[in-house]
Symmetry: C2
């Protein structure tokens, strides 16, 4: 894998040249892209040329951009045959900001259909018979395969944290609204959140901070001894034995690293909020994709069509009530986290499931997307079958750096453990 | 002017034919479009054909769609030369919903540049030397001129309520999020809100309810005697003598109509919130239009370029603080309105100003856009120079029908007064 921070430092110090970097990337892609299928399209030549003209913190680093995010200079197909060959007029805001920060767009990465559940062709670099997770499949797999040091993804349910966990990379979903979603193909406007994939926690902190224009960097700083709340099992999200073991291991390693550790359970409003996520998502998706349904319903997968039909049956009253529940839960969330630096949960029910027909479950992520709080997948643990397992770190809304710091402490503890 | 409700009833009863309706519209456009300039483009033939196939509550009614809202079957230029001739791949969600409800898209209406302050070519139908208001200039003017019974607009500052007031039509900005903004050219994602123009309050209630899939109709119902709070003058928004007189007249007429009337003043947090609106808007606009700035800054008006430069200088900390202020003010807003059915304020500082170089001021609207509460312009009063004056009715978040009912009572009182 490529560390964005290390590459940026090498480029700055002159110990690495852009030619060397892009050659290395080209080799990795030539070796593995055929079997992994991370890209919808890529263009090494254009990226190398853009990198040569780039300045800013990202210094010409090649970036993967999930294909539900508009790019003005190449197709943006949203994982749907309805939009095959579609060329947006302009870059999405986040792509423009990435270019301003010095990033070079290497390619568009595979998304599930409209960033929902119908898989694309991407395979897990750790075992090609397993899903890479979704919906940001290509971005997570491409970072894991060393195709690019950073990649943009989006999360509506668990589409950043889950594929990061399955692919053994760091994933960071900042607080809702911190990265602009203008130019995203929306699925659920109350939930769709941009996120970033990288090798390690410090890499995504560095990259996301450069995009957000915020001081999120955590490299080189001492993180002290945080107060971490380990979440008690929730009735709606069952972890498998591998994950339960990893979670306990994370707790021991955190203690050993000097963190203060508590067990935290959530008040009942969160159970309602978990259900409210789906009500809000499906109600909004039915409207967000109304044009596609009316124009080309037959080119929408049966899985998504069913969701959109279900969404159409949700009443305005139920939607409003779900939004009210979300609001109440956000207040409860702030209270539940008030004395903590971060909350720790599994990133997913277990390691990447076998097979490519499903991208796995987002039950461990949906609630936190709805809460709008920063979420980080900490890589570094391993399941019995050798596949990666991730631990999810959450912090109060707006305290993104607190989440990143706590995640970094766990990451170091895993590496030393 | 055309009443959407009357037309829909006529079409249902068979006392009006689509041919008659579209002929009448064609005549009005032939008479006045040259001098008013409400449209960027229109297509009577396509609209008539669409209307013939339409079913649903809107029954083939011709609609105006502000040109910052995507249409898949015709250009969407966002009021900017950068996007001249741009053809989106699909309809915006609200356009798809309008078609589902039976509406026929007659044309795209003039917006100021990216729905900010640089005017388009539209003139006020009541006096061609005066601005129609903005940014939804063509939608407001086109309803006033009888080109269409309903038109879509958007409001980030005061772009629905203000032009409705200047053009003497009803304008309705529902609670934030009630109409989907997917497929809108965003300027400020925390503020951009869809709204509707029509002849009277019952017309916009009927139209917006059909789009939202909500029971917002108020025609045929008795509205009782509401408790209306008339807002004390606010330091940030000075009305002229015409408007002060109209506001007092509205109070007397409301009392005479049997409403309970109180004077309401706002706690200090609203002053901060008024300032927060601009911080949030400019910070977000700088990001929403990042691609346009980087691609074609020279084709952005000096006025907007200045705003985007100012926005780029706003720190993340100031933006976050403004969002915190907005959140606190929303809670205070709910409290301030808790015992009221609606709050009443001027819609604008006065009647439409002379000249076309400015679309007037949104000082009476920005705070309420930020609060996300439903806002209605009630037409029917007149300034000394004969131009229309509107009164703004607001209700607590989510109580859209309460705002519409109170607005309807005032509208009737004005008509009877």
């Amino acid at each position: 894998m490529l560390s964005a921070l290390e590459l940026a430092r090498g480029l700055e110090a002159g110990t690495l040249s852009l030619d060397d970097l892009y050659e290395r990337v080209a080799e990795r892609i030539a070796e593995r892209e055929d079997e992994i299928g991370a890209f919808v399209n890529y263009d090494l030549e254009t990226a190398r040329a853009d990198a040569g003209r780039a300045s800013g913190p990202l210094r010409g680093l090649p970036l993967g951009v999930k294909d539900n995010i508009d790019t003005g200079d190449r197709p943006s197909e949203y994982g749907s045959p309805i939009h095959a060959g579609h060329r947006p007029a302009v870059d999405a805001a986040i792509v423009a900001l990435a270019r301003r920060a010095g990033g070079a767009i290497l390619g568009k990465t595979v998304t599930t259909e409209f960033a929902f559940f119908e898989p694309g062709r991407t395979r897990n670099p750790h075992n090609l018979e397993h899903t890479p997770g979704g919906s940001s499949s290509g971005s997570a797999a491409g970072v894991a395969a060393g195709f690019f040091p950073l990649a943009l993804g989006t999360q509506t349910g668990g589409s950043v944290v889950r594929p990061a966990s399955f692919c053994g990379v760091a994933g960071f979903k900042p607080s809702f609204g911190r990265l602009p979603t203008v130019g995203l193909k929306f699925f659920s406007w109350s939930l769709d959140t941009l996120g970033l994939f990288g090798k390690g926690v410090a890499d995504v902190a560095f990259g996301a901070g450069a995009l957000a224009g915020r001081d999120w960097r955590i490299d080189g700083a001492s993180h002290g001894t945080p107060h971490l709340g380990f979440l008690e099992p929730q009735p709606w999200a069952q972890a498998d034995d591998d994950m339960l073991e990893a979670f306990e291991r994370a707790r021991s390693l955190a203690l050993r690293a000097g963190a203060k550790v508590s067990s935290v359970s959530l008040p009942p409003v969160f159970r309602e909020a978990f259900a409210a996520h789906q009500t809000i998502q499906d109600y909004e998706a039915t409207r967000a994709l109304a044009a596609e349904v009316d124009m080309a319903a037959e080119r929408i997968s049966p899985k998504l069509r069913k969701t959109l039909e279900d969404g159409a049956a949700i009443s305005a009253e139920d939607y409003d009530a779900a939004q009210e529940t979300a609001l109440a839960a956000r207040r409860a969330c702030a209270e539940a986290m008030a004395t903590l630096d971060a909350l720790v949960t599994p990133s997913a029910p277990g390691a990447a499931p076998f097979g490519l027909a499903s991208t796995g479950s987002s039950v461990f992520n949906r609630l936190w997307t709805l809460m709008g709080v920063p979420a980080v997948n900490v890589p570094g643990l391993v399941a019995g079958n050798g596949l990666p397992l991730g631990i999810q770190v959450l912090a109060p809304f707006g305290r993104d750096r607190s989440a990143l710091r706590a995640a970094s402490i766990l990451e170091t503890a895993f590496a030393n453990g």
